[in-house]
């Protein structure tokens, strides 16, 4: 496959995985938790690197998942001690992220890790860091990691579809039915962290948020069905990956920045033009309702 092909495949996998996870994220009203986790993943990666001195996929995944869970646990812990939810999110992730940046800036310094990379990702390098897979030839490592994460995340969403649905829309009912709500919460936080780190290499810490939240929010404006929303959200993620890459190529600028911006454009289109929950449709319906009906 060509160089551009690999980049597009990587970005599409990011868009698809983030789109699936993002749907549950915004339905569970945890958008800002995603913001927090995508920042703290950095600390997990730095610590995994300091311990193992390696930058391979598996160590980073484990470190990041641990950091994500630590974030979720700390936020919950502070919240239980009387700090407001949004304030405790703000404290935990800025502190952990700051520690990560300081570790990079002072100790890891001249290693492969650098702050710019952490923020923007290095999707342009991905096609070169390949590994040999029997029967398929050279395949970029990032693609393999993303495929694995997509399989795990997609599998978990599919396997516990009913549980996710109930815990997202009616946690009280879920608890009454004996569904392990807390376990699912932390499992989900783990899924978000793993997704964030798999996407991290490609798009960096901040753009992960765009990929997680925005396509899902756009999909939320088109449908009232969870299954349709999952599909649409994944589709929007892939679409923004393609559109972002095209824009970056035309303007010769940051690929990850353009992809984040493309998710915003898609959201704006949905926000204005969605037939179900869009602004234009709302206005039209309001006008139709205000007009006295012909029948009297």
């Amino acid at each position: 496959m060509s160089y551009d092909g690999w980049i597009l495949l990587t970005a599409s996998l990011v868009g698809l995985t983030c789109g699936l996870v993002g749907t549950l994220l915004i339905l569970r009203r945890m958008a800002m938790m995603a913001d927090a986790i995508s920042h703290t993943v950095l600390l997990g990666i730095v610590i995994a690197y300091l311990v193992t001195r390696e930058l391979t996929g598996l160590h980073m995944l484990v470190g990041a998942a641990a950091a994500g869970l630590l974030t979720a646990v700390l936020v919950q812990w502070l919240h239980a001690r009387g700090v407001r939810q949004e304030a405790s999110i703000g404290i935990v992730f800025t502190t952990l992220f700051a520690i990560g940046v300081v570790l990079i800036a002072t100790r890891v310094g001249n290693a492969h890790l650098d702050v710019q990379h952490a923020l923007m990702g290095e999707i342009t390098f991905i096609p070169w860091e390949t590994t040999r897979v029997p029967g398929l030839g050279e395949i970029p490592e990032a693609v393999l990691v993303l495929l694995a994460v997509l399989a795990v995340v997609g599998g978990l969403i599919f396997a516990f579809y009913k549980e996710w649905k109930i815990t997202s829309f009616d946690p009280a009912l879920a608890a009454a039915l004996g569904i392990p709500v807390a376990f699912l919460h932390y499992l989900f936080m783990g899924m978000v962290s793993v997704t964030a780190v798999a996407a991290f290499d490609a798009v960096g810490a901040i753009m992960v948020i765009a990929m997680l939240i925005t396509p899902a929010a756009a999909a939320y404006l088109w449908t009232d069905r969870l299954s349709v929303m999952l599909l649409l959200s994944g589709l929007f993620g892939v679409l923004s990956a393609f559109a972002g890459y095209a824009a970056a190529w035309l303007l010769d600028t940051s690929i990850s920045g353009s992809m984040a911006f493309a998710t915003g454009v898609l959201f704006l289109i949905s926000f204005l033009g969605s037939p179900r929950h869009g602004l234009a449709a709302r206005r039209l319906r309001a006008r139709a309702a205000a007009r006295p009906s012909a029948g009297g």
């Binding site: 913001d35 404290i91 502190t95 940046v101 923020l119 901040i206 765009a210 915003g264 926000f271």
Partner: protein, 303 residues
């Protein structure tokens, strides 16, 4: 002061002013439950900074800060627009604005960095903050604006208190809710904008959030909370800046945040109002008195 150059003194003074102003405004954000809004707006300021630079073609802090203020305001309006006219919730709207504006900022930054002379523009220092990159003029501007924020907060302390804790009563007294809302947004944007060069767009929110929450552990009085948050913010600003000058090219923002987090941890454990230590002691005293009472009652029950 020995070993402290005139420039370093200016850095410290302006960071002290910035931290103080951020601590005060952060208390308002805390009570308005908009701590994370400050995070979204700080990220949203990035494209404005870059556009401000691109329009002039050279670095001029006032123009870049005006650009930052404009794009942060646009972000704030977009959040409230999305929230009020679609079914998307506020936290999702903040996440969208934060990441999409930041993405746009990074796009523009890459384009500007390619322009002749753009690579040396120091625009990258707006991401994590670089107090060392500021010239004296910048610091004067920062300190002056922070002083104005301080004065505004002090002069209208009573109005803020009313507006935050009893908005209905405030309206009854003839205090316009819309005016206060606009004033609040203006204060927030101004503090964020003057802070981003020193602390960076990503971590600026921490300077607004952490001192206020820390102060809450020491007092129930609003006035005292403001004073403490100002003190904590100023302290974190100065301490973080000092540490960041120890290494070559170390970013300022993360060190300030770590200093603030240290203050928070101390407050969490030792805070006089609801710190963990005080709570544990109270619980123990309660258990003791309960035990003493039961023993006494059992003693009375005996013949």
């Amino acid at each position: 002061m020995i070993g402290l150059s005139h420039n370093a003194l200016w850095v410290l003074v302006s960071m002290l002013m910035l931290g103080t102003a951020a601590g005060l405004v952060g208390c308002f954000a805390y009570w308005k439950r908009q701590s994370l809004m400050s995070d979204a707006l700080a990220h949203a300021a990035l494209p404005g900074v870059v556009i401000g630079y691109a329009i002039l073609g050279f670095k001029s802090l006032p123009v870049m800060l005006l650009g930052a203020a404009a794009s942060a305001l646009a972000g704030a309006l977009a959040v409230s627009w999305i929230r009020s006219s679609s079914r998307v919730k506020e936290d999702t709207a903040m996440g969208i604005i934060l990441s999409v504006f930041f993405g746009l900022g990074i796009m523009l930054l890459a384009i500007v960095n390619r322009m002749p002379g753009g690579g040396q523009s120091g625009l990258n220092s707006f991401i994590f903050g670089q107090a060392a990159a500021m010239v004296r003029q910048d610091m004067r501007l920062m300190a002056a604006v922070a002083a104005v924020v301080l004065l505004v907060v002090l002069a209208s302390f009573k109005e803020w208190k009313l507006y935050l804790f009893d908005p209905a009563f405030a309206r009854g007294l003839g205090l316009s809710g819309r005016l206060m809302e606009a004033a609040w947004l203006a204060l927030l944007v101004v503090v964020i904008v003057i802070g981003i060069q020193a602390v960076g767009v990503i971590l600026m929110a921490a300077l607004l959030i952490i001192p206020a929450v820390s102060a809450r552990y020491w007092t129930n009085g609003f006035g005292r909370m403001l004073a403490l948050a100002a003190l904590f913010g100023g302290g974190a600003g100065v301490a973080g800046t000092c540490v960041s000058t120890l290494g070559d090219g170390w970013p300022t923002g993360p060190f300030i945040v770590i200093a603030a987090a240290g203050i928070f941890l101390l407050s969490l454990v030792f805070g006089a109002r609801k710190g963990l230590l005080v709570r544990a002691m109270q619980r123990r005293a309660q258990v003791r008195s309960l035990q003493a009472r039961t023993i006494r009652r059992e003693g009375e029950a005996l013949p």
